[in-house]
């Protein structure tokens, strides 16, 4: 098996690192690499920012009036 370049390995772990789903060993491996590699640390910060940005920009509040329409559906019978 060919060992991955450390930055490629870090990239491989990155999404799970952000999701906090790595094993303790993998977490330590990523953390150690990020502490000493500006290239990957910058990409880590970028990925983290991107996740938050997508979450906030894609969220659209319920339009006014929809709740009232849903209220009107209350009491619907299984046979109607």
């Amino acid at each position: 098996m060919t060992a991955l370049d450390p930055c490629e390995r870090c990239e491989e772990l990155m999404q799970d690192f952000l999701d906090r789903t790595l094993t303790d060993r993998e977490w330590k491996e990523a953390e150690t690499h990020l502490a000493g590699c500006e290239y990957c640390a910058r990409r880590y910060r970028f990925e983290e920012t991107l996740r938050k940005y997508v979450r906030t920009t894609a969220a659209e509040r319920m339009p006014p009036g929809l709740l009232g329409k849903l209220e009107e559906l209350r009491g619907l019978d299984a046979t109607t």
Binding site: R43, L50, E60, M62, G75, D77, T80
Partner: protein
């Protein structure tokens, strides 16, 4: 002489009416969160409103099948995603293309090679990626990947909840999520870098 005790049947009916009101109140309290997911699953605000109304109509009709104390948000979203799949089938859209397999750093590397490493810093990211580009990119990724990205990254559902909502194994949620996020970054790169 005091009032007679209500008959057991009357008590049962009164209890059921209270349970139903409690169910409806709880469901309506989640409407904004349900809408946020619906809005990113479909193409327009009108479609999202229709889908949410259809989902609530079905939920209110079948309220007895909800188990109190379980995750109602996931239960509602399961109804909504099933309805959305049925709609997709009715519209007989062309099958989704499989996204290309770009690397996780694809967008970061594209931005960095176009504008330098500093472009990746927090405030510059927001400058480069407009809200429209995020919305368009999300709408553009294949639906089976989009629904997982929307549930986990926008709806804040856990992998386990997303698996239950979509009725797929948790491993499938994880692989679709990874591929969906990569596809999103690829679309964002196309939208952002001329």
């Amino acid at each position: 002489m005091g009032d007679a005790e209500p008959a057991p049947e009357a008590r049962r009916i009164a209890q059921e009416a209270r349970d139903r009101v409690r169910f409806e109140e709880e469901a309506l309290g989640l409407a904004d969160q349900v809408y946020r997911v619906a809005r990113r699953l479909v193409g327009s605000r009108e479609e999202a409103e229709d889908l949410v109304q259809e989902a609530y109509a079905r939920a209110f009709r079948s309220w007895r099948s909800y188990t109190p104390g379980t995750n109602m948000r996931a239960w509602l979203l399961r109804i909504l995603t099933n309805l959305n799949v049925d709609r997709g089938r009715r519209m007989q859209r062309a099958p989704d293309m499989q996204p290309l397999e770009e690397s996780d750093y694809y967008l970061a590397n594209k931005l960095a090679s176009a504008g330098g490493e500093e472009v990746l810093d927090q405030e510059r990211v927001v400058e480069r990626l407009s809200q429209d580009s995020v919305v368009h990119a999300l709408a553009d990724i294949p639906s089976q990947f989009r629904e997982v990205v929307v549930l986990v990254d926008i709806g804040d559902f856990t992998y386990a909840d997303a698996a239950e909502i979509l009725d797929i194994p948790i491993g499938t949620v994880m692989s679709r999520l990874h591929r969906g996020r990569r596809a999103l970054k690829q679309k964002l790169a196309e939208e952002t870098i001329a």
